[in-house]
C-alpha cells in the first residue's frame, strides 16, 4: 500500500513542536499544569476518601488473620491439597489412611491402597474420626482437678507422684504400637512397680483363652474369608463391628462377586449367619438364623453333632437336641465344603468358643481359613489382668494409675468399681482429650492429642507395620500419650526421634525410613498359612457351654457399626449416620420382634423401662424384623454422660448387665419390660421397611437361576404402543444430551453392597454436608447426599390389583426377612425430571452427563425435589452453619476447619444433592491437562466409590471403552445391569447390578 505520509496533529502546539508538548507527550491528560485548589476529579477523590473514612470508622471490621506466607513451605501450594500417609488407630481398630490436607489443615481421610490390610478402603468410623480432630468439646489445656495447669508443673507433680508410688498401673486399650510398648518398657525400668494393663471395650479375651485351650496358642488367628466357600457366622458381626471388619469385608467379598461375562465367575460362597439380633453381617448372609443368647452353646453343640454325624467323625456331644433355622442345611454345606469352610463366633463364653474351635478343627479349616501362621494384634486386652487391677485399685494396693486414652469407667463392666477405687489411688492421671467419665475422676488430665496430630506406629498383625505422622501441629496444648509416658520415664527425647530410631534399628531392617513414611506402611509379607491341632476337651466344653439356661425375656447387648463401643460418641457425623439396620440416628433403642412386642403390649413409638434385677434403663422401642422372639437387643456405646454435646445421647445399657447376675458377659435373662410412655417418633431416616413388591426398584435372584441365565431376576418392563409393546427407552419425546468428551457414570453392585454406611460419612466429609440433629431427622430432613435404602422382604403375596389389604400386608416385613441394601444418590438422569421443572434453570445438564445444581441460582421452590422419582434432593430448611439451633461442627470456628474449600457451603433455602463429586472430576481433568495427557481411568475417584470396603461402586467415563465401568457394562448390560425405575425412562447415568443370593429355590423369598 502506498504510504500517504499524512500526519495528524492534536493542536497547534504539537505542530509547532512546543517544548511542553514534547515533555508531556506520553501523558493523556496533563494535570501538572493545574496546580493548587480542588478540581473536579480531586473533589471526587476527596469525597470518595471521606465517605470511605467515615464508613470505615463506623464499622469495627473484624481482624482476619489471613497472612500470606513470607517463606512458603516447600510442600504447600495454596489451594493444592497434599496427601500424607498415616494410620487410624483407635484402641485395637486399625486402618491405613491417606490424609488430605489443604494449607496445613486435614480435611478428608482416604484409604491407603498400599496397605494390604485395609486395601484403600475405610469404614464409617474412620471417615468420621476426622471430625473428632475439630471437636469443640476437646479440652484446651492439661488440667488438675478441673483447673488449668501448665505442662511443666503437671510433669513435675506427676513424676513426683510416680516416684513415691509403690504400685503403678498403666491402663490402656489394646496398644498396637511397638514403639509405645518400648516406651512403656522404659517407663517400667524407671518405675519397676509399673505394669501395663490392657483391656478392650469389646473384648476378645475369651477367644484368646479358648484358642489357648483348643490349640495351645493364646492368639487371635488371621481369618481368611477369601478361602472359604461356606461361612458360618455366629453372633460375629464381622462385616460391621467384629475385630477387623475392613479386612474381613475384603476377604468376604472375594467370593461374593459374580460376573455376567461369558467366562465370568458365577460361583459364590454361601454364608450362614446365626444371631440374637439383626446385624449388618446377618443382613448380608444368604441364610440367617435366629437364636436366643442363652441358646448359643446349644446351637454350636447341635451344629457340631450334625456335622460330626454327617462326616462320621468325632464323637457326638451329649447335649439336648434343639432345632434352629436351616441348621441341617448348614451342616450339610459345611460337610460338603470341608476345609474350605469357616465358622466364626463372637461369643464371650470360652467353652462355646472351644466348641467352635473343635468344629473348625473337625472340618479341617484350621490351616485353610483360620491361619495361626499370621496372628492379629487387634485385641490384646486381658480381662483377667483388668479384673485384678480393679480388685487392686479397690483394695488400695494400686496407688498410682495412668489411663492412656481409655475410659473404663464408661465402657468396662466394672466401671462403677473403678470409679470408686480411683478415690483410693494417690495419683491418678488420665491421658485424655476431654474430661470424660474416667478422666473426670482423675486428679490430672494430661491432655491427649488427636491421632492426626501424632507421630506413631502400629503393628496390627504379624509382619505388618504402619506409621502415623502428624498432619497438623497440635491445635491445643496437648501431648500425645507416648510423649507423656516418655517424658515421665525421665527422657527428654522427642517421641518423633525415639520412633524413628526404634524403626531404624528394630523394624525397617535397613529399608528407608522416608520411604516407609511416604508409603505409610512397611510390610514384610505374610508368613505361610499355618494350622494347629485341636487339644481341647470337647465334652467338658459342651457340658459347660450348654449348662446355661435362660428364663424369661433375654437381653442381648451388641455394638453397632457407627458408634461401636462409644469411644467416638461425640461425633455428629457418626451420630447422624443411620444405623445400617434400624436406620435410627442419635440414639439406641430396645429392639423387639413384632410378636414379642405384641405379647408385651408395646409398639414402636413407646418407651419402655427395661429392668434386670434392681437396675433399669428407659429407652424407646424399635420393632426389629428378624429379632428372635423372647429377646430384646440394645446397642452399647450410647448414654455417655461426659462425651460432649453430641455424644451424650441415648442410654447406657451396661448398668443392666451389671445388674443382672449370673449371665454371660453381654447378655442377661429374666428381663422385665414395662411401658412408660408412648407417642414418640424415632429419628429414623427410613420408616417404611418393605419394597412393596416393586420390581423396578429391587431386582434380585438366586445363584442357581443366575448360572442358568445371567438376566435372571431382571425386570424388563414394556410399554404398550400402537406398534406393540416396546422398551421404555425406545419411546421418548426428548432429544437427549450430547456427551462429546466424557459421560460419567456409576455402577453399583447390589450383590456386594453390605450397607455399612462408609460412603455416607465419606460423602458427608467431602461435600460439607451439614448435620441437622435428632429433631430434624425425626422430621425426615436429614441432608445426606447418599443414603442406603434397606428393604426387608415381606411374606405377603405381591399385590398388583386394587385390594388395599393386599398392599397393607406387603408393608409388613417377614418375621425373619431377607434384606437388601441399595445405595441411593442422584441418578444423574439424562431425561431429568428435575431439570425441566426448575423455573430459574438452577439445575441443568452438563455436557458430561452430570445433572448439576447451581446453588446461587436456586430460589428454593422445591419443585425439583418433588419431581425427583428417587427423592435424592435435599433442601436447606434452615441455615445449618453459624446457627445456634444447629450447634454442631459448623457452628464453631474449630469445627468449620473441616470444611472442604472445594465445595460450596450451601445457604438456607436452596436445594442440594449428589454432584458426583464434580470438584474431584474437575481437579482430575485439570491435572491431566497440566500434564498434557488424556484423562486416564482411575485418575478420578469419588468419595463414595473410593471408600467402599467391598468395592461395590464402580465410577468412570462411559465414553472411554477402556474404562473399568465400560468394560463392566459391556457384559452386564445384557446381564445384571438395570436402571432403577426403568418404566419412566429418565435414563440415569447410574446402573445397579442385580443382587444374587446363594440360596436354594425353596428357601428364597424372591417373589
Amino acid at each position: 500500500m502506498e504510504d500517504t505520509n499524512k500526519r495528524y496533529w492534536k493542536g497547534i502546539e504539537e505542530l509547532k513542536n512546543d517544548i511542553n508538548v514534547v515533555k508531556n507527550a506520553d501523558k493523556e491528560f496533563n494535570f501538572d499544569e493545574i496546580e493548587g485548589g480542588t478540581y473536579r476529579r480531586d473533589f471526587l477523590k476527596v469525597l470518595g476518601f471521606g465517605m470511605a473514612a467515615v464508613s470505615l470508622a463506623a464499622c469495627d471490621a473484624p481482624v482476619r488473620h489471613t497472612i500470606p506466607y513470607l517463606n512458603k513451605p516447600v510442600d504447600v501450594e495454596p489451594g493444592i491439597p497434599n496427601y500424607y500417609a498415616s494410620s487410624y488407630v483407635q484402641g485395637g481398630d486399625y486402618a491405613s489412611i491417606l490424609v488430605k490436607t489443604v494449607e496445613g489443615r486435614p480435611i478428608k481421610i482416604e484409604g491407603n491402597s498400599l496397605s494390604t490390610i485395609s486395601k484403600g478402603c475405610l469404614s464409617a468410623q474412620v471417615h468420621g474420626s476426622l471430625l473428632s480432630l475439630y471437636d469443640n468439646d476437646r479440652l484446651r489445656t492439661p488440667q488438675k482437678k478441673g483447673k488449668e495447669i501448665s505442662w511443666s508443673s503437671l510433669d513435675k507433680e506427676v513424676m513426683a507422684g510416680l516416684s513415691s508410688a509403690s504400685n503403678i498401673r498403666i491402663v490402656s486399650n489394646t496398644i498396637l504400637s511397638p514403639t509405645f510398648k518400648k516406651v512403656i518398657g522404659d517407663f517400667a525400668t524407671k518405675y519397676p512397680s509399673a505394669k501395663l494393663v490392657q483391656y478392650d471395650a469389646s473384648s476378645a479375651y475369651p477367644l484368646v483363652q479358648a484358642n489357648e485351650k483348643s490349640f495351645g496358642k493364646a492368639a487371635i488367628p488371621d481369618y481368611k474369608f477369601e478361602n472359604a466357600d461356606v461361612i458360618v457366622g455366629i453372633n460375629a458381626d464381622f462385616l460391621g463391628a467384629w475385630i477387623s471388619p475392613l479386612e474381613y469385608n475384603a476377604g468376604w467379598v472375594t467370593n461374593r462377586k459374580v460376573s455376567s461375562a461369558k467366562e465370568g465367575k458365577k460361583a459364590m460362597s454361601r454364608h450362614y449367619h446365626y444371631e440374637p439380633t439383626m446385624t449388618l453381617t446377618g443382613a448380608n448372609a444368604d441364610y440367617r438364623g435366629r437364636y436366643k443368647p442363652s441358646q448359643e452353646g446349644l446351637l454350636v453343640a447341635n451344629l457340631y453333632n450334625k456335622v460330626s454325624e454327617k462326616l462320621g467323625q468325632g464323637s457326638p456331644l451329649a447335649v439336648q437336641k434343639a432345632d434352629f433355622e436351616f441348621l441341617d442345611k448348614c451342616a450339610a454345606d459345611l460337610v460338603k465344603s470341608g476345609a474350605r469352610s469357616l465358622i466364626v463366633i463372637g461369643s464371650s463364653d470360652v467353652s462355646t468358643l472351644v466348641l467352635v474351635n473343635a468344629l473348625n478343627a473337625l472340618l479341617g479349616t484350621v490351616g485353610t481359613t483360620i491361619d495361626f501362621g499370621n496372628t492379629v494384634n487387634y485385641r490384646q486386652g486381658n480381662d483377667a489382668e483388668m479384673a485384678q487391677f480393679v480388685a487392686d485399685l479397690n483394695s488400695g494396693t494400686v496407688d498410682a494409675v495412668i489411663f492412656v486414652d481409655a475410659n473404663p469407667v464408661y465402657d468396662h463392666l466394672a466401671g462403677p468399681e473403678i470409679e470408686k477405687g480411683l478415690k483410693k489411688a494417690k495419683l491418678s492421671v488420665a491421658i485424655s482429650d476431654r474430661a470424660d467419665e474416667t478422666a473426670s475422676n482423675c486428679t490430672y488430665i494430661a491432655l491427649n492429642t488427636h491421632f492426626l496430630e501424632n507421630w506413631g506406629d502400629a503393628n496390627p498383625k504379624t509382619g505388618y507395620y504402619s506409621l502415623i505422622q502428624p498432619t497438623i501441629s497440635n491445635i491445643f496444648k496437648s501431648r500425645q500419650p507416648e510423649a507423656s509416658i516418655l517424658k515421665w520415664s525421665g527422657s527428654d527425647t522427642a517421641y518423633h526421634y525415639y520412633l524413628k530410631s526404634n524403626w531404624q534399628s528394630n523394624i525397617l531392617g535397613g529399608k528407608s525410613w522416608t520411604q516407609a513414611l511416604h508409603d505409610g506402611v512397611h510390610e514384610l509379607g505374610a508368613a505361610p498359612v499355618a494350622g494347629a491341632s485341636f487339644i481341647g476337651n470337647i465334652q467338658e466344653a459342651a457340658a459347660q457351654a450348654t449348662a446355661k439356661k435362660g428364663n424369661g425375656l433375654e437381653l442381648h447387648v451388641f455394638e453397632n457399626t457407627t458408634i461401636g463401643t462409644g469411644k467416638n460418641a461425640n461425633n455428629p457425623w457418626l451420630q447422624e449416620t443411620p444405623d445400617p439396620i434400624s436406620k435410627v440416628t442419635w440414639e439406641n433403642t430396645a429392639a423387639f420382634s413384632l410378636k414379642t412386642a405384641t405379647e408385651l403390649g408395646i409398639a414402636q413409638g413407646d418407651w419402655v423401662k427395661v429392668s434386670a434385677g434392681s437396675t433399669s434403663v428407659e429407652l424407646p422401642v424399635l420393632i426389629q424384623p428378624g429379632q428372635p422372639d423372647g429377646t430384646v437387643a440394645i446397642a452399647r456405646g450410647y448414654g455417655r454422660t461426659k462425651a460432649g454435646k453430641a455424644g451424650n445421647v441415648g442410654v447406657d445399657v451396661l448398668p443392666l448387665l451389671r445388674g443382672a447376675k449370673g449371665a454371660g458377659n453381654f447378655w442377661a435373662d429374666g428381663i422385665q419390660v414395662e411401658k412408660t410412655k408412648s407417642g414418640y417418633t424415632l429419628a429414623q431416616t427410613q420408616t417404611h421397611e418393605t419394597y412393596m413388591g416393586r420390581k423396578a426398584v429391587v431386582q434380585e435372584t438366586i445363584l442357581s437361576e443366575y448360572v442358568k441365565n445371567v438376566k435372571a431376576g431382571r425386570f424388563e418392563p414394556k410399554i404398550a404402543t400402537s406398534e406393540g409393546p416396546k422398551r421404555p427407552n425406545t419411546i421418548t419425546m426428548w432429544n437427549g444430551h450430547e456427551k462429546k468428551n466424557h459421560s460419567w457414570g456409576m455402577v453399583i453392585d447390589l450383590n456386594t453392597c453390605t450397607g455399612c454406611a462408609a460412603c455416607v460419612v465419606s460423602c458427608q466429609a467431602e461435600n460439607n454436608i451439614p448435620v441437622v440433629g435428632k429433631a430434624e431427622v425425626a422430621r425426615a430432613r436429614e441432608m445426606h447426599w447418599v443414603r442406603i435404602d434397606r428393604y426387608y422382604s415381606s411374606d405377603a403375596p405381591r399385590e398388583t390389583g386394587y385390594n388395599p389389604n393386599g398392599y397393607k400386608a406387603m408393608e409388613v416385613a417377614s418375621d425373619n426377612p431377607e434384606v437388601i441394601f441399595q445405595p441411593m444418590m442422584c441418578q444423574h438422569c439424562s431425561n431429568a425430571p428435575c431439570e425441566t421443572v426448575c423455573p430459574v434453570l438452577a439445575t441443568t445438564h452438563s455436557s458430561e452427563g452430570l445433572n448439576q445444581m447451581t446453588y446461587n441460582r436456586c430460589v428454593g421452590t422445591r419443585y425439583c425435589a418433588n419431581n425427583c422419582p428417587y427423592k435424592v434432593r435435599r433442601f436447606n430448611w434452615f441455615k445449618y452453619f453459624e446457627n445456634d439451633d444447629f450447634d454442631y461442627a459448623f457452628n464453631n470456628e474449630l469445627g468449620r476447619m473441616v470444611i472442604n474449600p472445594e465445595v460450596t457451603v450451601r445457604s438456607r433455602g436452596v436445594i442440594e444433592k449428589c454432584s458426583m463429586c464434580v470438584q474431584r472430576i474437575q481437579a482430575g481433568k485439570l491435572v491431566a491437562k497440566k500434564e498434557k495427557r488424556p484423562l486416564k481411568d482411575g485418575d478420578i475417584k469419588l468419595a463414595c466409590s473410593s471408600s467402599c470396603p467391598t468395592g461395590c461402586i464402580t465410577f468412570g467415563d462411559m465414553n472411554d471403552p477402556e474404562s473399568e465401568i465400560s468394560k463392566l457394562l459391556a457384559h452386564e448390560k445384557e446381564g445384571r445391569a438395570f436402571h432403577m425405575l426403568e418404566e419412566i425412562n429418565v435414563q440415569p447415568q447410574l446402573s445397579y447390578l442385580v443382587k444374587v443370593r446363594n440360596k436354594d429355590k425353596e428357601d428364597s423369598k424372591v417373589v
Binding site: 427410613q686 420408616t687 417404611h688 418393605t690 419394597y691 412393596m692 416393586r694 426398584v697 430434624e776 422430621r779 425426615a780 430432613r781 436429614e782 443414603r787 435404602d789 434397606r790 428393604y791 398388583t800 390389583g801 386394587y802 388395599p804 398392599y807 397393607k808 441399595q822 441411593m824 425430571p833 425441566t836 421443572v837 426448575c838 423455573p839 430459574v840 434453570l841 441460582r857 436456586c858 430460589v859 428454593g860 421452590t861 422445591r862 419443585y863 425435589a865 418433588n866 419431581n867 422419582p869 428417587y870 427423592k871 434432593r873 433442601f875 436447606n876 430448611w877 434452615f878 441455615k879 445457604s907 438456607r908 433455602g909 436452596v910 436445594i911 425405575l981 418404566e983 419412566i984 429418565v986
Partner: protein, 457 residues
C-alpha cells in the same frame, strides 16, 4: 311503565326499590361512619392479620423449616393454599365475564363483590407463591427480565414459569375489569361527596361524565374485557394444574387435571362468593338486592360443579386402574385407604356429597344451610388440593423415602395470615367502595324489579 318482566322469572330486586333507593342503599355504607359490626369485624381481621404476619416474618427469618415439610413432601400447605386461593378467585371472573357474555342479569348484584374477592384471593395466592420459596427475596428471578447476572434466563419448560405468567396476567386483567366496572359508581359517590373525599373519588372516577358516549364506551370496554377474561377463567387453573400434570409423580401425572381443576375452582369460588354475599347481605341489609333467587342460582352452580369434580374423582380412579401402572394404582388406592385416608374422606364428603342437598328447591333457598354448605365446600376443596399434593408425594416411587406429613405452627400461622389479609382487604373494600354495582342494578331495575308499574320514583 310497560314491563317486560317474565312471569316465570323471579325478581332480582325486591321491595320496590327505585333508582334513588339503590343509590342511597349502596352509597350509605361508603358515606356513613363505620358501623359497630364493621369495626368489630375489622378489628378481628386485623388481629388475625397481625398474628399471621408474625408467622410469615418468622418463616422468612428462620427458614421454611418452621413448616412441617420434609425430604419427600416438598409441598403441602403452601401450594395447597396457593391453589385453593387461586381457585376461589375464579368465581369472580366467571361471574363478571362469562355471565356477562351470557347476559345473565342476576350477576349484577354479586359481580362487584365477587370481582373484589377475586383480586384479594389472587393476592393471597401470590403471597404463598412468594412464601413457599426458599429464598423469597429472589422471587423476581422467576421473571424473564434482562439482567447482568450473566446469560441467565427463566426456564420456559417449567410450569412454575407458566404460573407466573398466568397469575400475573390474571391479576392485571381482573384488576382492570374490576376498576373499569367501578368507574360509574365511583362517579356517583364523587357527585354526592364533599371535601377531600370528593377529590379522591373524583380522581378515581377518571372524569366520568355520564354522557351517552361515555356510557357507550364503557359498555364496549366492559365487553372487550369480559371477552379477554373469559379464556382466563379456563386458562389460569389449567396452567396451575400443569404444575402437577406435567410431573412424573403418580397421582400428579394425570391428563384429566385441567378440566377437573377448572371445575373445582369454580366450585370453590362460588362457595366463597356465597359466603361473602350472605354476610354482606345481612350486615349491609342488602336483602333486596341479594335475594333468595340469587342464593338459589348460586346453589345450583355449586351442585353442578360439585358433581363435575365428583365425576373427576371417580374417573381418576378408573383411569389409574385401567392404566395397569402399578405406581398409579397404588397412588390412588393409597389416597383412599392409606395413612391420609381421612383427608380423602373429608374431600369426598364435603365436595361430592354435601352439595347434593341442593336438589331440593326448598333447601336451596335456606340461607343458613346455604352458608354452611358453602363453608363445607371450601373446606372440601382445600382438602382436595391437600389430597392431590400430599398423598401423591408422601408415597411415591421408592418406598424407602415414604414419609408422613404433619403440619407445624408455621403452616397454620401462614395460612391464618392469608385469612387475615383477605378479611382486612375485603372489609376495607366494603367500607370505601360500593359493594354492589349500582349502575348495573339500576339497569336491571326496569326489567327485574319487584316494583309495580305506576309506583312513584
Amino acid at each position: 311503565m310497560s314491563s317486560v318482566v317474565s312471569p316465570i322469572r323471579e325478581h332480582l330486586v325486591t321491595n320496590g326499590k327505585t333508582h334513588h333507593d339503590v343509590t342511597e342503599d349502596i352509597c350509605r355504607h361508603v358515606e356513613a361512619k363505620p358501623t359497630k359490626e364493621w369495626k368489630i369485624a375489622f378489628t378481628i381481621c386485623l388481629i388475625i392479620l397481625v398474628y399471621g404476619t408474625f408467622w410469615v416474618l418468622r418463616t422468612w427469618w428462620e427458614g421454611l423449616g418452621v413448616w412441617g415439610l420434609n425430604k419427600t413432601v416438598g409441598w403441602a400447605w403452601d401450594i395447597t393454599n396457593f391453589v385453593w386461593w387461586v381457585g376461589i378467585g375464579h368465581a369472580g371472573t366467571l361471574i363478571s365475564a362469562i355471565l356477562l357474555l351470557f347476559r345473565q342479569k342476576w350477576r349484577t348484584s354479586v359481580n362487584r363483590a365477587a370481582e373484589a374477592m377475586t383480586i384479594f384471593a389472587v393476592i393471597c395466592a401470590a403471597s404463598f407463591i412468594v412464601m413457599h420459596m426458599g429464598r423469597p427475596w429472589l422471587a423476581y428471578w422467576a421473571l424473564p427480565f434482562p439482567n447482568t447476572f450473566g446469560s441467565l434466563w427463566v426456564n420456559f419448560n417449567s410450569p412454575l414459569v407458566w404460573d407466573v405468567f398466568a397469575i400475573s396476567t390474571y391479576f392485571s386483567v381482573s384488576c382492570l375489569f374490576w376498576y373499569i366496572g367501578m368507574v360509574p359508581d365511583l362517579a356517583t359517590i364523587r357527585d354526592r361527596a364533599t371535601g377531600i373525599r370528593k377529590t379522591i373519588y373524583g380522581i378515581l372516577s377518571l372524569g366520568w361524565t355520564g354522557g351517552a358516549k361515555t356510557w357507550a364506551r364503557y359498555e364496549d370496554v366492559s365487553l372487550i374485557l369480559s371477552g379477554l377474561s373469559t379464556p382466563l377463567v379456563l386458562s389460569v387453573h389449567t396452567i396451575v394444574s400443569f404444575d402437577f400434570a406435567t410431573s412424573v409423580i403418580p397421582g400428579w401425572h394425570t391428563t384429566i387435571f385441567p378440566p377437573y381443576f377448572v371445575a373445582g375452582a369454580i366450585f370453590s369460588g362460588f362457595a366463597m362468593v356465597q359466603n361473602l354475599m350472605l354476610i354482606t347481605r345481612v350486615v349491609y341489609k342488602l336483602e333486596d338486592y341479594i335475594t333468595l333467587e340469587h342464593i338459589s342460582l348460586m346453589n345450583k352452580i355449586i351442585t353442578l360443579t360439585g358433581s363435575i369434580v365428583g365425576i373427576a374423582y371417580i374417573t381418576e380412579f378408573f383411569i389409574a386402574a385401567y392404566s395397569g401402572v402399578e405406581y398409579e394404582k397404588y397412588a390412588f388406592l393409597n389416597r383412599a385407604t392409606g395413612p391420609l385416608w381421612w383427608s380423602y374422606a373429608a374431600m369426598m364428603t364435603c365436595n361430592v356429597l354435601s352439595p347434593q342437598v341442593f336438589w331440593s328447591a326448598k333447601l336451596r333457598k335456606n340461607i343458613v344451610l346455604s352458608f354452611v354448605i358453602a363453608v363445607i365446600v371450601n373446606i372440601g376443596m382445600w382438602f382436595e388440593r391437600f389430597v392431590i399434593i400430599v398423598t401423591s408425594l408422601h408415597r411415591d416411587y421408592l418406598p424407602s423415602s415414604w414419609t408422613y406429613f404433619t403440619p407445624r405452627m408455621g403452616d397454620i400461622g401462614d395460612y391464618v395470615f392469608s385469612f387475615g389479609l383477605f378479611g382486612t382487604l375485603f372489609l376495607l373494600f366494603s367500607k370505601f367502595l360500593p359493594v354492589i354495582n349500582m349502575a348495573e342494578v339500576k339497569a336491571v331495575l326496569k326489567s327485574s324489579s319487584e316494583r309495580k308499574p305506576g309506583d312513584k320514583h
